[in-house]
Amino acid sequence: MSQSIDYSSPPPQSSFSIGKLWTDKKSRGVLIQLLAMIAFCSVVLYLAGNVVENFEKLGKPFGFEFLQQESNYDINQHLIEYNSQSSHARAAVVGILNTLLVAVCGIILATILGFILGVLRLSPNWLVNRLAYCYIEFVRNVPVLVHILLIHGILVHSLPKPKQAINVADSFFLTNRGFYMPQPVTEPLFWAVIAAFAIGVVYAFWYRRTAKTKQALTGEQSPIFWVMLGSIIGLPILVFFLSGMPLSWEQPELKGFNFKGGMALKPEFLSLWLALSLYTAAFIAENVRSGIEAVSHGQTEAALALGLPRKRTMNLVVIPQALRVIIPPLTSQYLNITKNSSLAIAIGYMDIVATIGGITLNQSGREMECMIIVLGLYLSFSLTISFFMNWYNRRISLVER
């Protein structure tokens, strides 16, 4: 091999050498990340491979066909039609709805309680302030599982049996099997009320938009709140009475062992709902307090100095800024409620974990499949909540000009 070397040209600028990959800061960074990625992927692959191999050794095939089979078990609280002849898939849906029910109810109650507590916590009244403080400190320093078991224990052990139910006005009955109340039964004409409600909602938002445009153009203000209230709530009520009250009540009645008819909140639902709400409310209260305290007092003073009335100062200056601080941690509280609802199993509330992740898993022996489903479900709930809250957060966040 003969090669003539041209000594007159300059040496190549960056000759590649393996060592340089390490000494150069930038390429070292990339290299380390690459190695970490490879290590991570191989661990995942190793685990996945092992799972597949072990399942194969057990002779268990992987698949979701079992979801179509009859579940053969009963679920005491089902928001959709369900019996032991229904499929495992349907049982899973019943579980999903039960989880969503308790999560949504929990989120609503926790938010209301949390905001009230947070405001009380800032009250200038020493007693109110201290009481709120004690409540928050007590509740959030005891694990939520203890709250659930405690409330369930109180409901089941201290309330009377159905035969000795606490009777309120012959319509409401408190027992250790649940809280029974009349159930509304709609009559045919009730559609008119629903229609009135729909019209009311549409009108209310249309009114609000035009009123805002008008204010922007002329500075004139309209009684938005009252008009919205009137059309959303007032109109349906008016139609309700005009159409001759097309609604009757089905009363719960003691028949044999239990009450029949009416609506029932079972102790399992009640204790889970209350415990999750009371517990999370304590955290939300602290978020609310810090959010309000984060708005500097100068803002309030400036608004007042500009002549804004106190109420408008609160609505237009303090709350919008406080919300910006409150919303992000609120999101994680909502996620906590949803995930903590899986503690349902401690008291036998039939949520996702108890149905598809519990009885179905055990009866069908499909551990992997069921856990994947449960995992996927919680993940999608959480991502949905995050997505929604992020959207809301972006909407209210400071738009810098």
Binding site: V51, K60, V156, G256, F257, I345, M350, M371
Partner: protein, 339 residues
């Protein structure tokens, strides 16, 4: 998270981590020096901890017999408590070597769930317990009742069938353990507790006033309870199966923990001799020595002794032998021959 999910996750994790290569369960058990046995969380007579904190009862005795056969030491057992719901995952994932936990032998468990039942040590059926104050005399009168039921059991499936077939309604109150069932039943959260009749009798015996609770006459299912192992290791299944059979055969031929030493020196019954190792070498066929069955019987007792000691008529549980008597005494307990 919660107990169940943790166990399930742990089981799945161990499934992911444990490497497939193993020489067989017996070799594994011998290598680690103890038997890992899955039992229930507690049912009077069937599985309970004594004052020293050791597990005793009808089910742990099966584990002890196996440990005695392998190691000659009944203390070489480590117990894992399992609920009705967690037991199969625990076994399938390899966390335990065997289960002895009043578990019903069913078709789907034996096949689809990839488990192997090795025999029956208690022929049972599902019953109902109610407070006598309710005045109920038949399960068919239970329309509208709240029923405490352990989840992940055959009994919860039978229950659904029973009420559906009879066209009556009920509210299922799902619970995880026998303990929880008692608490809820006593508090009146449910009117009825239903599970294996043996479990009901055992549970009732712990009540302050057992006479205030009655078992209804209906037995709505067959619940053959027995020990089980993972599918796929026939040698290990054989060992557990024949340990159980050894205890039943011992009772049949009058071999007890008291007289086994003397009988082991040789008798005029060749089957006893084969069982106890003075004739032939059956032990070698299951990977053990000649004295394996002798040790199990010596240290734990024959089937009748185990029954009488834990759950028999002279104990507070007070179960009669009934169908669980030997075939020679009017029952259906029948061990294949040792030959």
């Amino acid at each position: 998270m919660n107990k169940f999910t943790t166990i399930a996750t742990a089981a799945l994790a161990s499934m992911a981590l444990s490497n497939g290569a193993s020489a067989g369960t017996l070799a594994d058990v011998q290598a680690k020096g103890f038997l890992q046995c899955g039992i229930s969380t507690g049912v009077a007579g069937f599985a309970f901890t004594d004052d020293a904190g050791d597990w005793q009862g009808f089910d742990p005795d099966v584990c002890k017999a196996v440990a005695a056969a392998i190691f000659g030491d009944t203390s070489k057992v480590k117990y894992t408590t399992t609920t009705g719901k967690t037991r199969f995952t625990t076994l399938a994932s390899g966390e335990v070597d065997m289960l002895a936990r009043n578990t019903t032998w069913t078709f789907s468990r034996d096949t689809d769930l990839k488990l192997d039942f090795v025999g029956v040590n208690y022929y049972d059926g599902q019953g109902f317990m109610v407070p006598t104050a309710l005045g109920v005399t038949s399960a068919k009168e239970l329309d509208g009742a709240s029923v405490c039921i352990q989840t992940g059991t055959t009994t919860e499936l039978n229950l659904a069938d029973f009420f559906r077939i009879n066209g009556i309604e009920y509210e299922a109150v799902p619970i995880e353990t026998n303990d929880e069932a008692q608490t809820n039943y006593k508090a009146g959260r449910c009117d009825v507790y239903t599970t294996d009749a043996s479990g009901l009798a055992a549970t009732r015996s712990t009540f302050e006033n057992p006479a205030e609770h009655a078992l209804l006459p209906e037995i709505i299912s067959k619940e053959p309870l027995g020990p089980l192992v993972r599918h796929g290791d026939s040698e290990w299944a054989d060992l557990v199966r024949w340990t159980l059979n050894a205890m039943i055969t011992a009772e049949e031929f009058g071999v007890t923990s008291e007289n086994v030493d003397q009988m082991a020196t040789g008798t005029d019954n060749p089957e006893i001799n084969r069982l106890l190792g003075s004739e032939g070498d059956l032990g070698a066929m299951i990977g053990l020595d000649k004295a394996w069955a002798w040790r199990a019987i010596k240290m734990v007792g024959n089937y009748g002794e185990v029954f009488d000691r834990n759950i028999g008529a002279s104990t507070p549980i007070g179960l009669e032998r009934g169908v669980n008597n030997l075939w020679t005494k009017g029952g259906i307990l029948y061990s294949p021959p040792f030959r």
